[in-house]
């Protein structure tokens, strides 16, 4: 199908245009339009997945048009096993977060407008194959996110929004310089990501190392890698629930996706050189995030820091530079999107009722809200990496990959595993267990909330039981990636 990827990317934007035409007072039709368009995107992505050739590591559905010939910039799109799962995740989380946006009552029209633009940026980032195009989409994500946090956020929203914006921008600027440097260091000069990956051996080792670091800096902020992570808790705490879900579920993956799409294939020598430091950073992320999360008193902040911890697994997997590690990293990216997205939804559910996120204010909710208790327990267990649920497979593969390359780091990371268990059990204990006090009147989760959770629960279970569901799409792409090293 020609222009199928273009259609996927710009469908949300079309939705935005349509929403712009609806009078602001018709909140209901605005919501419906947004949901409808996100459903359409999800359907299109499912069609894409069904037509996806699982037996090749090459790019599929390629689209290539000259865009700015004077600068050698093309409009290139394509999908492979590395991006497919993330595109699906984006579409799914996008739809669920749109469904969960019922709590947004302020300037609904603007909200969904910005939201749709965000979706276009996210999908574009994962599908772009031209560095300049990638950069444009990358930045296009930043601006709507800035507004979503800055306008619809909590009390310290402006601080959080600015912090997020400047932090990410600082990384992007370095990346822009890196993009230009890459363009000039390959012959023929090209922004095409496939060609650059193919001719990566042309770049001398030292240059590769420097460029690797430049790109890594940009991606590290997005992931976020310790010590560039402090924007994340602030942004999460201030962002409204659906935005948090997008932020944790999809946005963070842009960083790790960049690592796998750009850092490793473009600069294999740099990747090999920095694999060990990267693995150390992964272990630090894992342990540090878990510990930092443990001491928080704000529910959302705990989950935010646990995200930092989980992204440590992804880093470990990438640092392993082997098939197992890459598979684990990709799977963990997907799983983290599903699980942590669900966790933020659950935090939102309880925040809607209690209007606070202080852990000390909860307790005994298992008796008051049994369905909520089920979902929270389920997702916490998935988060802590309980075997049988999806989180475990990704973590295990990432850890196994690391173990094959750096056994000592994998062994140290085990501390993080224990800390994560402690963290999520304590969350369960503090929120659900104990005697209910003062909040006996909270209604249990309603149909909309449950219907948003159910697909995530189903995915968590299915991937946990049958990881090939996701892995089968990425096998060849990962093998191709390892082949570049």
């Amino acid at each position: 199908m020609p222009y199928f990827l273009t259609a996927i990317i710009f469908m949300p934007l079309l939705g935005a245009a349509l929403i712009a035409l609806i009078p602001a007072a018709q909140v209901r039709s605005i919501r419906l339009t947004a949901v409808a368009f996100n459903t359409a995107v999800l359907a299109a992505v499912v069609v894409l997945g069904l037509n996806f050739n699982r037996h090749t590591g090459l790019m599929q559905c390629l689209e290539d048009r000259v865009w700015i010939p004077q600068a050698g910039i093309h409009y290139t799109l394509g999908v492979d096993g590395i991006s497919l799962a993330l595109v699906f995740l984006t579409a799914l989380i996008g739809l669920l977060a749109a469904l969960a946006s019922g709590g947004i009552v302020k300037r609904v029209k603007e909200y969904f407008l910005v939201y749709q633009v965000l979706m276009t940026g996210l999908l574009g980032t994962f599908l772009a194959l031209d560095l300049v195009l990638f950069y444009i989409f990358w930045e296009a994500v930043l601006i709507p996110m800035f507004f979503l946090i800055g306008i619809w956020g909590g009390p310290r929203r402006e601080y959080a929004a600015w912090k997020f914006f400047f932090y990410t921008l600082a990384g992007s600027v370095v990346m822009l310089v890196g993009i230009l440097a890459v363009y000039f260091s390959v012959t023929p000069h090209s922004f095409n990501m496939i060609e650059i990956a193919r001719s990566s051996s042309m770049i001398p080792g030292g240059v590769q190392a420097v460029l690797f670091l430049m790109f890594f800096f940009a991606f590290a902020i997005k992931v976020p890698v310790f010590p560039f992570h402090t924007w994340l808790p602030d942004a999460h705490v201030e962002a409204p629930t659906p935005v948090s879900v997008i932020l944790a579920g999809v946005l963070l993956k842009m960083g790790t996706y960049g690592l796998m799409r750009i850092c490793v294939p473009f600069f294999p020598a740099g990747a090999v050189l920095f694999a060990f430091p990267l693995a150390i950073l992964g272990a630090v992320n894992l342990i540090y995030g878990a510990f930092a999360a443990f001491a928080q008193s704000d529910f959302k902040k705990m989950i935010a820091y646990s995200s930092v911890s989980h992204m440590g697994f992804v880093l470990l997997g990438v640092a392993a530079l082997n098939v197992t590690g890459f598979n684990g990293a990709l799977l963990e990216m997907f799983n983290h999107g599903v699980i942590t997205g669900a966790m933020f939804l659950l935090v939102g559910v309880i925040y809607d009722r209690a209007h606070t996120r202080e852990m000390s204010a909860f307790g005994g909710l298992a008796s008051v809200m049994p369905r909520y208790a089920f979902f929270l327990t389920f997702m916490s267990l998935a988060s802590l990496g309980l075997p049988g649920l999806s989180g475990f497979i990704g973590e295990f593969l990432a850890l196994a990959g690391t173990f094959f390359r750096f056994p000592s780091i994998a062994a140290v990371s085990a501390i993080g595993l224990i800390a994560l268990v402690a963290l999520f059990l304590v969350i369960i204990k503090k929120v659900l267990w104990g005697k209910p006090a003062g909040h006996a009147s909270y209604p249990d989760m309603n149909a909309v909330e449950i219907s948003v959770m159910l697909p995530l629960v189903a995915l968590t279970l299915c991937v946990g039981f049958y990881p090939q569901m996701i892995l089968q799409f990425q096998t060849y792409a990962v093998n191709a990636l390892v082949g570049l090293l």
């Binding site: 400047f166 510990f291 930092a292 001491a295 075997p387 049988g388 295990f396 173990f403 204990k429 267990w433």
Partner: protein
Amino acid sequence: MVNIAHFIPVFPFVAFWLNIIFGCRLGVACAYVSVGASAISAVLAVLVFMGLQAGGGSYVLTPWLSVNGHPISLGIIVDSLTVMMLLVVTIVGTLIQIYSIGYMGGDPRFTRYFAYISLFMSSMLGLVLVDNLFLLYIFWEGVGLCSCLLVAFWYEKPAAAAAGIKAFITTRVGDTGLLLGILLLMSVGHSLRFADMSVISAPEPLMVLAALLIFMGAVGKSAQFPLHVWLPDAMEGPTAVSALIHAATMVAAGVYLVARCYPLFTAHPLALQTVAVIGAISAVMAASIACFANDIKKVLAYSTISQLGLMMLGLGAGGYTGGTFHLMTHAFFKALLFLGAGSVIHAVHTQDIRAMGGLFNKMKVTSVTFIIGALALAGVAPLSGFWSKDEILTAVWQHGNLGLFIAAVTTSFLTAFYMTRLILLAFFGESRGAHKAHESPAVMTMPLVILAFFALFLGFAGSPWAHHAFQRFIAPEEGEVALDLGMAVASTVIACAGILTAFLLRGKFLGYKEGTCALIENKYYFDEIYDALFVKPFHRLAAAVARFDQVRVDGVVNGVSRCVQELAQASRSLQTGLVENYLLAQAGGVFVLIVVVTLVGKLCHIF
């Protein structure tokens, strides 16, 4: 018949989802769903057992995952060890679930209880069926989760909630070792299948390390020293749970794991020796604590640790049959003891044995079955415990290490002692509580009777009269076995000595002043030490990390932004608005420019 084995865990799993989703509507009926499911599993297990006569084997259901090019398949292993575990788990599990109908009756979360139990059954059965370590790990964590959820079943009680978390985290420490062991085995041994355990060749130190890491998982799950601290606390859960999970099945999984990976251990004596030593330490330590415990369930919990230690000791000393045999007999009589204790607690609403007394006349069935269980545990011939314990003692004796043998003997003696003390205090003497005790309903006593039957006669499977059927079943390759008569006499004498000592000291039990043996009464201060060594530092470290994050890491970020602001602020004051200042700066700039241009010109001339 063997290849129906993989259906065994499916039924409880279905029962779990049925109870979770339709639990509210099913009400009390959900108990029948769970009991029915595990009864079907039991029937299947028996069928598999009978099919085993035609030869066991392992089969692969489906490839599942590929790690580093090594396929991990969903494979099932069916051999004597598996079948023994299947039988134990399904039979004991079914009986305990029946018992639970009475014991948990009226609980507001009745359905939830049975859902968890079914999930546990399913995980436990999966655990013993799978043919490789990786899948075992999955179910291993699954039973750990169920244990945690069931210990914290009455989560309104802070102690229960804390115990649940403690159970999960402590075992998770061991499990992390197991996970690392799996990774190590995978990277050096290239196979996780139990069938390949004996043929894996890799550098000796790495294999020892792998074996020890795997053993670490067993230590956590079987509550062995030094990870035993969670099991006594886990007694906060419903007593039926204690019986099923924390006595009969789950805690025995550690022993099962060692038995399953036995070739790995026997190939490396250091690993095997470690197993024996850890088992010996656990056995003696826990037995000594049990002598001073006053909570009926705590006595039994420590007894469980001690007996599991004894099994480990047996395995470590090379007594494969002894260890596994004791695992089986112990499952039955310890389940019986716990259920009996539950029955008592149900009747008197206290767990303190000093507040019981004189129950024998009020609760005939419970008392008799409990005493049968206690005697079996104490190892009095010819009850089941005698036979299995005798095997272990023989094995340890033949192993030749005197220290280990003394430990085993001491454990036997102490076991007989504390069980007699428990019975004397709880069932005989005067009634010390103002309670009207009564016998439990039939749904609870019936399983007691059945279990007592097993406790009485199961041991004969290992006796000469049955031609050592168990030994031939579990380890046919070990060849002809014979009863060491001397050892049998010795072990009976030891047990009797323990019982006798308890009788002699019976007057002193009640008047015993606390603090005389502070070290043992306080469980060797393990909780306190761990609290000071791990728990508190963990919290402190977490707080420190959070503070560090806020102050230092974020401080740097905010500091950078503040620097920019300050810089802007500072450069603001340069903008005086006075044209003369601007001009001065401009002229200065011109001056500098001229200097630079001339200098550069000069330099160009020079070079």
